[in-house]
Amino acid sequence: MDNTRETLIEIEGLYQIFGPDAKNVLPKVKAGASKEEILAETGHTIGLQDINLSVKRGEIFVIMGLSGSGKSTLIRHFNRLIDPTAGKIKVEGDDIMELPVKELTTFRRHKMAMVFQHFGLMPHRCVLDNVGYGLLIKGEKRAEWKPKAVNWLETVGLGGYEDQYPSQLSGGQQQRVGLARALCTDAEILLMDEAFSALDPLIRSEMQEQLIDLQENLQKTIIFITHDLDEALRLGDRIAVLKDGKLVQVGTPVDIVLKPEDDYVRAFAKDVNRARALTVQTIMTADTSKLEGISAKDVRDIFPADRGHAFVFNNNAYQGVLTKQQLDDMQDDDLLEKVLIKVPTVRRTNLLQDVIPLSLNTRFDLPVVNKQGELKGRVEASKLADVLSP
């Protein structure tokens, strides 16, 4: 991730306590009482406690956590659908708690669009009008937004359903209408609360691509709640993990998987399909020592002493693997290409899942090269085995 991006949303010391007398329960929470204690003692539920985080412009920020850990509550603070019990929420430096009603409305119209966990569709509007709702609210004419809405409906796979009402749709179809509504507004920031949870794998991965496209091409900032670790790892530039309303860890997908901060996050990341989550980058051994030459004598002196095999390059192009034994068996003038073993190269960005079959098919390390074909390192089967062992 690009660390130089500017901060877009900043949250400081955010508390949310549900109940009639939240203000008075706050000190107890600050004093460190647990969620169960507070619930049993006062009947109040802690939604969030002491949340500090910042979201950068253009990133996909994923929020994860147990059911009931406060994800929806947190995301609903970003556009101030609920007011915090305590704390600050700044968007582009402005404290949105202090926006007057009018500006808050403008802010919601232009800056943010939201996909709701329970969809939040309007039962009295047909699908098309639901999708165009955000634009309608801004005062655009139906004729203006209609093509756009139809277009988004088709993108989410609901072409032809324009005139149906939400109650006539299946759960996943309703969710997609909610998705299309959010995408149709052109807002800079997308708040997505389990936006893909009711989708089947095919449509879901299409939608994920769509989202990545949007982020890459239009620099949208996306805050995404999901329970699907694979999805989180696939989409997220950074991932935040919540537990009982507290922020436990914020980090890159790799950090979460490989450097969990506590047992909770470890348990959480345990089940992840690492082969799909991790790239070669994370396990490769940096090593640029290659053999350059055509015949045995060219390389005999530079063959690394501590290795059984090495990668042979010629004119900066990878040729294959040469074992120590082969070299030992060769005459000085024997051409290397006769004996070289064709072990395929991999790239640093390759997912492990693509690399595993390659590694299984050979006894040798896999060479890691960059775009230009320069050797950057190698993938050792044992390291791969390590990272894949649960």
């Binding site: 556009n79 659908l81 409305t105 919601r108 709701f116 309007m122 047909c126 609210i137 006539q168 509504r181």
Partner: protein, 299 residues
């Protein structure tokens, strides 16, 4: 009687005190009506002129033209030939039994009252739904309007404005307006919070929320309020006729005192027919605007 009588008899105010209060209040009101009656009356003049004009229009236009206009309006509002033919049949029967003119008079005043009630009532209901304070102030007023016997305020009104259409309209509106206010309030308060939140999240202003979400979703309940308001308005036809409003109420009153049951029944039925027509037309108009309710269960 001995002093412990309060055990069995309520220790009420002495007759003299009561008398003093009564007399001073009564005469205070008399003075008030003498001083301000004129200007209050003038205030209502435009409404009066409109009422008179509308009534004359309905009566003086040939009956078949009026009937055609009514049926046309009904069709425009409901797009239902069934309803139109019902309306036609009802009006033909009314005419046949010789109640055309009275019916037209009642129609004119009730139309005005119903429209007034709805146009005033819905905004008040909305206000009530938005603010608990407003609700706590308005509710007791509605209670008073619905249960204070019409006569209690009618006679003062008559002393202020004389008998005739204006006090009639006031009485009818006072009595008929509470249901639509109450049910508008209830309907809006019962609107699903999630849907409303979605609207808020997309930057809907309070007005957009109101007209785009709350009112459409509260429609079935609001329509129940309108239905009750129509019923109440027509129920007041007879009371209105007691302070000189012409129309179907007078023959009803007449028939009572003379025990002409059939006459009373016929005129009563004409009132009922008007009520049903008003109601069905407004309901089916509203239903046309809420197609979404046709979709049934959810997958």
């Amino acid at each position: 009687m001995i002093d412990s009588s309060w055990l069995t008899e309520f220790p009420d105010m002495s007759r003299r005190e009561l008398l003093a209060i009564r007399q001073s209040l009564d005469s205070a009101y008399r003075t008030f009506s003498r001083d301000y009656g004129e200007s209050i009356e003038n205030f209502f003049d435009p409404l009066l002129y409109f009422l008179v004009w509308f009534e004359n229009l309905l009566i003086e236009t040939p009956w078949w033209l009026v009937l055609a206009a009514i049926v046309g309006l009904v069709y425009a509002a409901t797009r239902s030939w069934k309803l139109c033919s019902g309306v036609l049949a009802a009006f033909l029967a009314i005419g046949y039994f010789g109640m055309w003119e009275d019916t037209m008079r009642t129609l004119s005043i009730i139309t005005v009252c119903t429209i007034l009630s709805i146009c005033i009532g819905i905004p008040i209901g909305i206000l009530m739904a938005r603010s608990d304070r407003a609700k706590s102030i308005i509710t007791p007023m509605l209670d008073i309007m619905q249960t204070m016997p019409a006569f209690v305020y009618l006679i003062p009104v008559v002393m202020l404005l004389g008998i005739g259409r204006i006090p009639g309209v006031i009485a009818v509106v006072i009595y008929a307006i509470p249901p639509v206010i109450r049910l508008t309030n209830l309907g809006i308060r019962l609107v699903n919070q999630e849907t409303l939140e979605a609207a808020t999240a997309y930057g809907a202003t309070p007005t957009q929320r109101l007209f785009g979400v709350q009112i459409p979703l509260a429609m079935p309940t609001i329509m129940a309020g309108i239905n009750q308001t129509i019923m109440m308005a027509l129920a007041m036809v007879v009371v209105a006729s007691m302070i000189g409003v012409k129309g179907l109420g007078q023959p009803v009153l007449k028939s009572i005192t003379n025990q002409y049951f059939t006459l009373g029944l016929l005129n009563g039925l004409a009132i009922v027919a008007l009520a049903i027509i008003f109601d069905r037309v407004s309901q089916s108009y509203a239903k046309r605007a809420q197609k979404h309710l046709e979709g049934t269960e959810n997958g």
